[in-house]
């Protein structure tokens, strides 16, 4: 077991965005949080990343309580929906950011940071783009920079918020395949938020279907397709 979400509730004002959600994500698993907009999936993801603080419940990682650990200490790789690349930094500087902000003792030497950045650029097929700025990149390239930046800190878990949301259909399919391959190589525990059932079914090991702040069903793509637990799951996957 890698991540345990234990009866987590998060309200915005009086409105509960996530209601007593419990979920276990296994080590090395690719988990999708699938649901329509407003179902609480992004709020749940942000709670795991430490960007939203749940009012109730607990988060545990490998048995360690994570609930009150600040975002900067969680070592979570977060890929934002609109990528949130640092616009005034080059691609290489973006990727190096997480290493450069480490405190003195823990910061790798400059040469090593550069080596790590080069490796990531290579692996993300961004080889000659290190000196470019985010505004000079295509959507798919930005996406891969965001991923490289998140991976540079050697996260314990990777969180993806609608990673293909801003891309056109063709690029989407290519990147999807590429992301799955990457996951199979790194075996990094991954949670992806999406509203696209096709994407979730094609990519994830298991899917948690969310509706109105709660999880309706958790299962493998086959389980969900063959035996949907609620009418909502049936309808949402059938759509």
């Amino acid at each position: 077991m890698a991540l345990e979400i234990d009866r987590v509730t998060k309200r915005f004002g009086a409105f509960p965005a996530v209601r007593e959600v419990s979920l276990i994500v296994n080590q090395g698993e690719f988990m999708a949080l699938l649901g329509p907009s407003g179902s609480g999936k992004t709020t749940l993801l942000r709670s795991i990343g430490g960007l939203d603080l749940p009012e109730e419940g607990a988060l545990r990682f490998d048995g360690h309580d994570l609930t009150h650990v600040p975002a900067r200490e969680r070592r979570v790789g977060f890929v934002f929906q609109a990528y949130a690349l640092f616009r005034h930094m080059t691609v290489a500087q973006n990727i190096a950011f997480g290493l450069n902000v480490r405190p003195y003792g823990k910061r790798p030497p400059r040469a090593e940071i550069r080596k790590r950045v080069d490796e990531l650029l290579d692996r993300m097929q961004l080889k000659d783009l290190g000196k470019r700025y985010p505004s000079q990149l295509s959507g798919g390239q930005r996406q891969r920079v965001a991923l490289a930046r998140a991976l540079a800190i050697e996260p314990r878990i990777l969180l993806l918020d609608e990673p293909f949301g801003a891309l056109d259909a063709k690029v989407r399919k290519d990147l999807r395949q590429w992301l799955r391959t990457l996951h199979d190589e790194t075996k990094l525990t991954t949670i992806m938020v999406t509203h696209d059932q096709e994407e979730a079914l094609a990519l994830a090991d298991r899917i948690a279907v969310m509706n109105l702040g709660q999880i309706e069903q958790v299962g493998t793509p086959d389980e969900l397709r063959n035996s949907p637990a609620t009418p909502f799951v049936k309808e949402f996957l059938g759509g």
Partner: protein
């Protein structure tokens, strides 16, 4: 003939006819010439009306130099303080949600809606010899009214909103996701501010500082009330201009005034450069 009818038929709805354009255009140009350009030209013509030597004598005379020095001092204190305040306020207003936010935004704008003379008077009422806090501060040996302290306070009040006003729309548009990304990558709050937030608003900040500085150096009303017009001590450049003028020393008065006019022109050029070069990175570029 048919060509003409065609053109009229296919005229875009937002296009005016040539005659209308001409009249409106001429009117606009005349208006600008009359109300903006003429005064500026007059300032420089009058400044040099008694020759370059007289001009130089007027701006290097002892009281003029001390007025220039004082204006620079006041701006050097007021502008950095308001820059820090503006950044802090914009940061608080745009990156966080809290009670009383809209009240804070209104308060930031307050100096713009209050007549500068009134703001000066408020300081006199507060810190003057007969004021609420005046006698108390007097016992502590602190004098505000008719001193440089008063000038600085009045200037700070009047130029309060410039930086914050420029930054708030810009930071609102940029949102918080880059800051959040920095946090998840392990940055501390301080690192996030210096490495992400500040670089993202640097041109907008410069723009705000520029406007703030122009106003700080040129402010007359508020400063006039608290200054006491003590020559060589509490006279800023705008006040010095007035004194010279009241003494019928027109050439000298315009000579000193032309310094302020030049400051305005330099500010304008820098401002346009910023808008032209970094339009996307300053809020003013979006307002059109």
């Amino acid at each position: 003939m048919s060509d003409r009818t065609d053109r009229r038929l296919f005229q875009p709805p937002t296009q005016e006819r040539f005659g209308t354009k001409l009249v409106l255009g001429l009117f606009a140009v005349l208006y600008i010439l009359l109300f903006l350009m003429t005064p500026l030209v007059v300032v420089f013509v009058e400044a040099f009306s008694k020759g370059v030597d007289a001009f130089l004598a007027a701006v290097t005379e002892k009281d003029a130099l001390s007025a220039i020095w004082l204006t620079l001092t006041v701006a050097a204190i007021a502008v950095p303080l308001n820059t820090m305040f503006g950044l802090a306020a914009a940061w608080a207003v745009t990156k966080f949600d809290f009670k009383g936010k809209s009240i804070l935004i209104t308060l930031i704008d307050l100096p713009f809606s209050v007549s500068p003379v009134i703001s000066g008077l408020v300081y006199v009422l507060l810190f003057g010899a007969q004021g609420y806090l005046g006698p108390m501060l007097d016992e502590l040996g602190i004098k505000v009214i008719f001193t440089v302290t008063g000038l600085v306070l009045a200037t700070i009040f009047v130029t309060f909103p410039f930086v914050a006003r420029e930054l708030i729309p810009l930071m609102q548009e940029q949102g918080v996701s880059e800051e959040e990304a920095a946090l998840t990558l392990g940055a501390s709050g301080w690192q996030m501010f210096w490495r992400v937030t500040l670089p993202n608003v640097r041109w907008g900040l410069l723009y705000g500082v520029l406007l703030c500085n122009a106003r700080a150096m040129g402010e007359f009303g508020a400063v006039s009330v608290v200054s006491g017009h003590i020559r060589g001590l509490t006279n800023t450049v705008p006040l010095h201009v007035e004194i010279l003028y009241n003494e019928y020393n027109f050439a000298a008065s315009f000579a000193v005034a032309s310094l302020l006019a030049m400051l305005a022109l330099v500010t304008l050029v820098l401002k346009s450069l910023l808008e032209w070069q970094f339009g996307e990175n300053i809020a003013a570029g979006h307002r059109h």
